[in-house]
């Protein structure tokens, strides 16, 4: 973890020698001026941006448990997404490490650190596997399709949402264990059916 050291410098030099952007021509001053003018001709804080009103945060878990776990997560194993392959996510049965009462109020700050967030519509439910078509990516690379292994909702308190075909969902996932590559889906209402309120929180967090 110490850096810089000579092996690291050598490795970085090798990588830099293959930098695809090494010969990218910088934009001319006037070109930047035109881009700034074009962009700023649109209203700042337009709909869909951070100034969208956000009130009445969706709260599926119990609030007021400050000092307890900030959010509950269920273990997820996400395979490497490819252009045509579905990202596979599995939610185990059980409470996923979550105890009712450990949820805080939903906020952009809770979502902001998470590396994967997307909106998707449920295409089908086959057995306990839910297939979502990704319709919007807030963060990360979920690929075009995500599969979620639906938990047994009777086996634990899973933030109280079920998947229904045709329904739209907002899903966020994080990496809580640095020693493992797997992601974990954020629960406690941080993921759930799309609503204007939850969407606004996502836009604030990832916009």
């Amino acid at each position: 973890m110490s850096e810089p050291n000579q092996p690291d410098q050598d490795l970085r030099a090798v990588l830099r020698s293959a930098d695809p952007a090494a010969s990218l021509t910088p934009l001319e001053h006037d070109r930047i001026t035109r881009m700034v003018n074009t962009t700023s001709s649109q209203p700042a804080g337009a709909p869909g941006a951070s100034r969208r009103p956000r009130r009445r945060p969706v709260l599926l878990g119990l609030a007021g448990a400050a000092g307890v776990a900030a959010a509950a997560f269920a273990v997820v194993s996400a395979l490497t997404p490819a252009a045509t392959a579905a990202t596979r996510i599995a939610l185990p049965a059980g409470d996923g490490g979550m105890a009712a009462g450990s949820c805080l109020a939903i906020s952009p700050e809770s979502l902001a650190p998470l590396p994967l967030a997307f909106q998707g519509a449920v295409q089908k439910v086959t057995g306990d596997v839910v297939t979502l078509e990704v319709t919007h990516v807030f963060r990360g690379e979920p690929g075009s399709t995500v599969e979620i292994e639906q938990p047994d909702l009777t086996a634990g308190d899973f933030s109280a949402f079920d998947f229904a075909v045709g329904q739209d969902y907002l899903i966020a996932a994080g990496d809580l264990d640095p020693a493992q590559p797997e992601l974990e889906v954020a629960l406690c209402g941080l993921s759930g059916p799309t609503s204007p309120e939850l969407r606004a929180v996502y836009e604030k967090a990832f916009g």
């Binding site: 973890m1 092996p7 690291d8 050598d10 490795l11 970085r12 090798v14 990588l15 830099r16 020698s17 293959a18 930098d19 695809p20 952007a21 090494a22 010969s23 990218l24 910088p26 934009l27 930047i32 001026t33 881009m35 700034v36 962009t39 700023s40 649109q42 700042a44 804080g45 337009a46 869909g48 941006a49 951070s50 100034r51 490497t80 997404p81 252009a83 902001a112 650190p113 998470l114 590396p115 990704v134 919007h136 990516v137 807030f138 963060r139 990360g140 690379e141 075009s144 994080g174 990496d175 640095p178 020693a179 590559p181 990832f206 916009g207």
Partner: protein, 177 residues
């Protein structure tokens, strides 16, 4: 005060334009990069009142999200274009850094998991420190440092198998164990 906001935005764009354009150029084709760059500027303009004082890690996150959405749009278009390409494939000009001298490096990077390759790009090409990488990836500093350490080791191993062109880097593997 639109005048003040525009001046703020102008200064911001001049600071981040080239790092963001390079970030995008390293990860996609020129057309998609241009589209994602324009969208990145728009997102930043919409948040002109909230722009951070240290913009680079933050704006890379914005650019990454814009790139993901631009590539989704492109893939939809490509489904149609692909049929045309089977008739007359376009000539593809090699991009900078794509020359044969760099083939072993690109081949080694291609063997890595996407997450490993990305942390190495952020480190070597975007020149970010582990704490900045943590901000971009949305993970803890400790997690970013561990990922980077492992990714370096895996790249050294991949380069070591790639042939003599990169062998001097592969010789450092012993230290990583």
């Amino acid at each position: 005060m639109p005048g003040t906001e525009q001046r703020t935005f102008d200064a911001f764009v001049r600071e981040i334009a080239e790092p963001v354009r390079r970030y995008l150029a390293r990860r996609t084709d020129p057309d998609t990069a241009e589209e994602a760059f324009a969208e990145t500027l728009l997102v930043c303009w919409r948040r002109v009142a909230d722009l951070p004082s240290e913009p680079l890690p933050w704006v890379f996150v914005v650019a990454r999200n814009c790139l993901a959405n631009a590539e989704r749009s492109r893939r939809r278009r490509d489904r149609l274009v692909h049929r045309l390409r089977t008739v007359e494939p376009p000539a593809v000009a090699p991009g900078p850094g794509d020359g044969p001298d760099h083939a072993p490096v690109h081949a080694a990077m291609a063997k890595l998991r996407a997450a490993d390759a990305e942390v190495l790009r952020l480190w070597a090409w975007e020149d970010l420190t582990p704490p900045q990488i943590a901000l971009v990836l949305g993970v803890s500093e400790n997690a970013a440092a561990i990922r980077l350490h492992r990714a370096k080791r895996r790249l050294r191993e991949a380069l070591g198998k790639a042939g003599p062109a990169a062998g001097h880097v592969g010789s450092e593997r012993r230290e990583q164990r």
